[in-house]
């Protein structure tokens, strides 16, 4: 089998207005992503998704399309898509960075391999070692009563774990957490996610009031590069500290574990540069005795599927302490897939079809594509 084309389709899919997310890194109300289809000479096509948000991932759909056209496609044309690891290396040689973009092509190669062999991707990754992954909801940063209302809605959907966005002003953050805890009761596992927005001093001051609200984990309290600051929060806190923006590629995970900067690492296929790289991030975490979980960049169905295959086949998933953010279906009223993924509140399971197990609905793709 040989790769004959890499097709790119920019889409813009709006979030459901009531559930759009605002955090310390800004607001996300629509997803200007890029869908990738890797075509072959045997009629099979692999699907990938560049879940690019300029302010968070640093990548955007225009650049991603150009990177695919000008750098990735020329280096992959005529190659056998089954050589996923080797082709990942080839892409790395073609252009530096652009991890979310490369990840889209890499996940499409896994999809192709699975379709060619008629097995789901989790089977290619070593088999399913858990039936599914526990998931948590993410409550936007808003004034307390509004965040509380969103949290209450999440409970009504069936979520028993969630995190609330913090990381701007400590009094506002504490009031929001208190209002959310009040709305959801004592039995729901509640964490916070500062997206690196606190200084070390603010994070240190936050530990006690968060403990008073029974906050169960603290995600990215200080900026991504401040690993000693993360370690400092970890020493002060009796609940796990999660590294999110601090961890992208496996080298970042090495830095985090060497600095003892986190108890749990948040893994993304996009940030790592592919499913293979994401597995290596998870392996670094596990080998250092740290847990790992799955993060969210509000992926659409293809990106979510990649995360689910990763979650159910890779050792060390710490979804009990820090449930995964496999939740995008609760933020969008619509997706691009023919069949929705087997995701419900608090639990995500893999689709069982070959490859990533998802199929694009061409009408929806046409409706949401943004280049016509």
């Amino acid at each position: 089998m040989k790769i004959t084309d890499i097709e790119t389709i920019p889409v813009v899919v709006p979030l459901s207005p009531e559930r759009m997310i605002r955090g310390a890194r800004g607001a996300h109300d629509r997803s200007p992503f890029l869908i990738v289809r890797v075509h072959t000479d045997e009629g099979l096509a692999g699907l990938g998704e560049v879940s690019c948000t300029p302010r968070w991932s640093g990548e955007d759909a225009v650049t991603a399309r150009h990177v695919c056209d000008a750098y990735l496609k020329p280096s992959l044309l005529g190659q056998d898509p089954a050589d996923v690891e080797r082709l990942s290396g080839v892409m790395g040689q073609a252009i530096v960075g652009h991890h979310f973009t490369k990840a889209a092509v890499e996940m499409a190669l896994w999809d192709l391999l699975g379709k060619a062999l008629a097995v789901p991707v989790y089977r290619l990754l070593g088999g399913q070692i858990r039936p599914g992954a526990r998931t948590k909801f993410s409550v936007t940063a808003a004034e307390p009563s509004r965040s509380a209302a969103v949290a209450r809605w999440a409970c009504e959907q069936g979520f028993t774990a969630m995190k609330v966005k913090v990381g701007t002003s400590l009094p506002d953050d504490v009031a929001r957490v208190a209002a959310v805890r009040d709305a959801i009761g004592a039995d729901v596992r509640l964490g916070v996610d500062a997206n690196g927005g606190w200084t070390r001093a603010t994070a240190a001051a936050a530990v006690a009031p968060l403990a008073a609200a029974q906050v169960a984990f603290i995600e990215q309290p200080v900026p991504a590069r401040d690993l000693p600051g993360m370690a400092d929060v970890r020493h002060r806190s009796s609940v796990p500290v999660v590294a999110d923006e601090s961890v992208g590629v496996p080298e970042d995970a090495q830095d985090v574990v060497q600095a003892a900067a986190a108890d749990v690492l948040s893994v993304y296929v996009g940030m790592a540069g592919g499913i293979g790289a994401a597995r290596r991030v998870a392996a670094v975490a596990s080998s250092a005795g740290a847990g790992w979980t799955i993060g969210s960049n509000l992926e659409l169905g293809i990106g979510l599927a990649a995360h689910i295959h990763l979650a159910v086949s890779t050792p060390g998933l710490d979804d009990e302490r820090v449930p995964c953010d496999i939740i995008s279906t609760f933020y969008y009223d619509d997706d691009l897939l023919v069949q929705p993924l087997p995701i419900r509140a608090g639990w995500a399971q893999p689709p069982t079809g070959p490859g990533l197990g998802v199929e694009i609905d061409e009408d929806k793709l046409a409706h949401y594509r943004s280049d016509d």
Binding site: G26, G58, V62, T63, I95, V96, G97, R225
Partner: protein
Amino acid sequence: MRIRRVSAIPVRVPRTARFLPKTAHGEVMASEYVLLEIEADNGAVGLGEVTCSPRWNGEEAAGTVALVHGPLGQALKGLDPSSWPGISACLDTAFTARPFLRAAIEMACLDLVARHYEQSAAQLLGGVCRDQIATKFVLPARDPRLVRAMAEDLAGTGVRVVKVKVGTGADGDIARVSAVRSALGPGVTITVDANEGWQPEEARRILANLDHLGVAAVEQPLSRAAWTASAGLRTLSSAAIVGDESIWTLPDVFRSAQTGAFDMVSLYPGKCGGLRATLVMAQSAAALGLGVTFGSNLELGVGAAALAHVIAASPVLSPLVPADLIGPLYFESSLITDQSFIGWGTAAVPAGAGLGVRLDADAVAKYRTDR
């Protein structure tokens, strides 16, 4: 003063064949850049330049242009170009990473504002510490006989320091440096740049050989993440070990000091995300006992001018390792009207207000790739 318009012009300029550039990262025959023009409501225009090297920094022309002509340009309109904190905060909301783009925008704002106040950019960066800048010439990682001939070609140009690109194979590297030493004699200082090309175990042997050849500095011998191994090399060589691909941000400077990975750091505006950021990193490095030199990603005329102003304004500068302020010499055209500030062993700060350079409209028309 408010920004009225930001425009981006992608260009592609062939390298001159004379010096056949090649490094451990590969061979490049032409380079892509994006020129920026920022115009204020009073009609003043400032120039910036983004180096696009997909295999080195990942920033490429089409995405850069689209960003500038799209959300970034919109966000910058109406902002005061003399207020860097305001502009910087705006950039933070428009993109992450992209240090070369960030530097280009700062360059253009500085050019614009300095011209308005009839000051040179270096004066706005804190004042001029020097007006002559010692530079080194760079020889490619090619066959030793070829490189020897190029080195001989440099005799009489005034070049006192050369940097030889290595990192493509131990035996070839040693032979190449030996050929250059033979051609130039003992009076010329030789440094090398491995661009992450060596493995730790071969580095020992190579460094021993380079010491015999009197190599004064070795840049980025190992992979950018190999902090501990690099610290190990420092005890093996009397050459200064210089960090380049390892050093992008201020935390990297601290890490250099903490790990002992480098004697010196190589800084420049594109990689460091700005002219002011470069100066902050330079002063921090010096305070931590690290040497400071200024490197390059092979700038054209506008980028080279910006680098000259930064070096002129820097209170710290290594006397051992001259700057790589030579980019324009490598290209068919540097796209400015007067590149005489770049010499063969020394450079000056372009005279006049702002960055002190103007675009050559015919050259831009010839090399732009969007029309």
